[in-house]
Amino acid sequence: MEKIKSLDDLKKLREGMQAKIKLRESGNNAENIVRVKVSMSTCGIASGAKEIMNFMMDEMERQAIEAVVTQTGCMGYCYAEPTIEVTVPGHDPIVFGDVDKVRASEIIEKYIIHNELVEGILPVNYRSIDI
């Protein structure tokens, strides 16, 4: 890995990363990729988040859905672990809670493919500071 030696280096790296993310998120014209974030905190993992993450990866690969599945930290919805956030290109991210394999398949079959919402939506109820 290159060392970051100055503020400028950092800015460059940051801009590069942001552009990449923007590309991903602006959806309509660029990367048409579904993004799934799995909350992998202690609670999440204890409730089976790892299995769900693997399941989502395998299942989407099997169905040839272009998707990136990543892990993230605690989203704060401990009562509904495992939780995942799904961003379908062109739509706001949606968080689903209590995701087991059945619900995960539903999310893929119905929401990701057909934009049909399924049970288990956790409405976002906070504001994060803008970066």
Binding site: T42, C43, I45, A46, S47, Y77, C78, Y79, E81
Partner: protein, 169 residues
């Protein structure tokens, strides 16, 4: 206390751990962590060896081992079971879970079953309050445990569905 004789391999393991921390007295807790991780528990003989390697009184080592609840001087069961006794778990019925575990395993807190399979302990909050009440078997966390589930969890281990971590001793 029954005396045990450390195998040459164990002696080497402990010496290497101490050496990896430069035999510094100030690294005692890190050394003990590492030793327990490798050996499963910290019998008197291991503490004596650590004291010798770090060039410090064994009474002091023992003083530290007995201060921290994480350190064990007795071998734990093949599957150490810990019940979280944090407040969230408590108000959501951890006591009943503990009661049920004691009943099922027929041991008290701090004891190990005669076959050496299970030991039972209480744990401070593990911070998985969203899943209260929480039971840990080894490093695996079981959340929202009901007394009814206890039998099933124990059975899984008893039938060998889940394998234990192996320690040197």
């Amino acid at each position: 206390m029954p005396k045990i004789k450390l195998s040459q391999r164990t002696i080497e393991t402990v010496r290497n751990i101490c050496a990896s921390f430069d035999n510094q007295e100030g690294e005692l807790i890190n050394v003990l962590h590492e030793a327990q991780h490798k050996l499963g528990y910290l019998p008197a003989e291991v503490q004596e060896l650590v004291a010798k390697e770090l060039n410090m009184p064994v009474a002091k080592v023992y003083g530290v081992v007995t201060f921290y609840s994480f350190f064990n001087m007795l071998p734990q069961g093949e599957f150490p079971i810990s019940v979280c006794m944090g407040t969230a778990c408590y108000v959501r019925g951890a006591e009943q879970i503990l009661h049920e575990l004691k009943r099922q395993l027929n041991i008290e807190v701090g004891q190990t079953t005669p076959d050496g399979k299970f030991s039972l302990n209480c744990l401070r909050c593990v911070g998985a309050c969203g899943l209260a009440p929480v039971v840990m078997v080894g490093e695996k966390v079981y959340g929202r445990v009901s007394p009814q589930q206890v039998r099933k969890i124990i059975a899984d281990y008893q039938e060998g569905l889940i394998k234990a971590e192996k320690h040197e001793m």
